[in-house]
């Protein structure tokens, strides 16, 4: 392959288990390309996930990998990063894994600004368990647990991450795979807590129930309703209704958790 380094993949584990047209593969491919661009050695990269379709990702990646328990990817990653601060840690987590059961880990890791990179595979649903609503199912959309449309408002993870203290936030969609890749590169370069949201089609668990068509239709939908951050700033709230804003949202350094911790240790050792 020209653009994908097969050495980053466990080729013997492929083809993967995901459904036809599942966006997880597009984001996974972008992650492998981003790590390649960053020039990291295989040994210094760790991929950590929770549970879900998206959390199966580490199984296909040829790095140090950790497939943990539902909602706890960030907690395991925090332990790993503190024990091995030089490790470049990427967390692959679903919208359910990250913002429902794992929501508290997320906000507190952001608040600490610990140097972790969260790649949130947002397919708007609990894919693995058959299509229950997550905190990121858009208001009004149908799920097995919301047969008449969910009456809960969804999180905007960019706003949540920024408010909680994340120092890099960006969003892209499966229709913009090169943007997913470049945002992951920037996330990794930020010394602090970084969040990249990848909006991905789940044609089986979400699309079918919401009559969004097949994989190509879902990709077109993401393509047609995305607006770049720079353009969105000039648009009214009315014009932005139903649109997804994509691009780099926030990038501002702040004291990083492990560095601050090390300062205390150094001080006390004197």
């Amino acid at each position: 392959m020209l653009q994908i380094n097969v050495e980053n993949l466990r080729m013997q584990k492929l083809p993967h288990i995901w459904c036809p047209g599942c966006g997880n593969g597009i984001a996974l491919s972008a992650l492998t390309r981003a790590i390649d661009k960053l020039g990291y050695d295989h040994d210094e990269v760790a991929i950590v996930s929770g549970i879900g379709c998206s959390s199966r990702s580490p199984g296909y990646l040829n790095f140090n990998t950790l497939h943990t328990t539902h909602g706890r990817a960030i907690a395991f990653a925090t332990g790993l990063k503190i024990f091995k601060p030089k490790m470049k840690v990427f967390i692959v987590t679903g919208d359910g894994d990250c913002t429902a059961i794992g929501g508290n880990h997320f906000i507190h890791a952001a608040r600490r600004n610990i140097d972790l990179n969260v790649i949130l595979f947002n397919n708007n649903i609990y894919g693995m368990t058959g299509g229950q609503a997550s905190p990121m199912t858009p208001f009004g959309r149908t799920a097995t647990t919301a047969p008449y449309g969910t009456v809960e408002r969804n999180f905007d993870i960019m706003e949540l991450a920024k408010a909680a203290g994340a120092t890099f936030c960006g969003r892209a969609t499966a229709a913009h795979p090169r943007l997913i890749e470049s945002l992951i590169v920037k996330a990794a370069q930020n010394k602090g807590f970084s969040v990249v949201e990848a909006m991905l089609p789940c044609p089986i668990g979400f699309g079918r129930r919401n009559k969004l068509g097949g994989p190509v239709e879902m990709m077109k939908y993401l393509e047609e309703n995305s607006v770049r951050v720079q353009k969105a700033q000039k648009m009214s709230e009315e014009e932005l209704k139903g649109k997804f804003v994509i691009g780099e949202f926030y990038n501002k350094p702040a004291p990083e958790y492990i560095e601050e911790y090390d300062k205390i240790i150094a001080k006390l050792k004197k």
Binding site: M1, L2, Q3, P15, W18, P20, I26, A30, R33
Partner: protein, 71 residues
């Protein structure tokens, strides 16, 4: 004079065993190089039109598309 055929910039191959027939590569190929076959797998229809833009390889969710530069 016979129509001059474009020179392909890359050779594209589909790993049939891994292709799940989603059609995404066909949608994102700007040159109509790819098409869906009757058995719902992607296939290379017009190889000489390929510009080597790289879309098919990057958009395929299944790592089933592979490009090779032609000098």
């Amino acid at each position: 004079m016979a129509a001059v055929k474009a020179t392909p910039k890359a050779e594209v191959t589909i790993k049939k065993d891994w292709c799940k027939g989603c059609g995404i590569c066909v949608h994102y190929c700007p040159k109509g190089v790819l098409a869906m076959s009757e058995n719902l797998k992607a296939e290379v229809k017009n190889p000489e039109e390929c510009t080597g833009c790289g879309n098919c390889e990057i958009y395929c969710p299944d790592f089933a598309v592979s490009l090779r530069r032609i000098q």
